[in-house]
Amino acid sequence: MRAAIEVLISLLLVAGGFFGLVGAIGLVRLPDFLMRLHAPTKATTLGVGGALLAALLYFVGSGRWIVHELLIAAFLFIGAPVSALMLAQAAIRARLPSRAPLAEAGEDEERPG
């Protein structure tokens, strides 16, 4: 039983690290800000969720129940979409250039300013 939990924890850790790395690579490599906004808000949140679940399983498996985990999860998973919305508003207000084809089709007067 303990060995099975360790295998599960290891898989969650590796998957979490993978998604965290994917989010950071997207943050560096994608061409404009509105594309870069996607990588950390989705992939990195999933990655840190994997690490969170692994730590939770590790401490539950050794008989200690930690309430902090749930608070951390609440702040991370409520915080990511809220901060992404705020950053998108800031980018629209700053009129950052975008390469997305839909943004070129609509002219500037449709944007709030």
Partner: protein, 89 residues
Amino acid sequence: MLDLALNVAFAAFGLAFLLAAFRLLRGPSAPDRILALDTLYVDAVALALLLAVQQDSAAYFEVALLIALIGFVSTVALARFVARGDVTG
């Protein structure tokens, strides 16, 4: 096996931390830097959680909770400052 997975996760999140720091220094716009700071604090939370497992110590959860709290509030405050020019209004 758990030690190997921990090392892989440490390397991945450490590299992610460095890449986000690169974006923070490179810019080019203010929202880019705020987004890089946001990624930095999420990666720091993940590193604190990994340290809790590696050191077998629950004290790191308090570290992770504080980083998550302060990071969320600071990201929202900075983004509102860039978008509207003030934070509370």
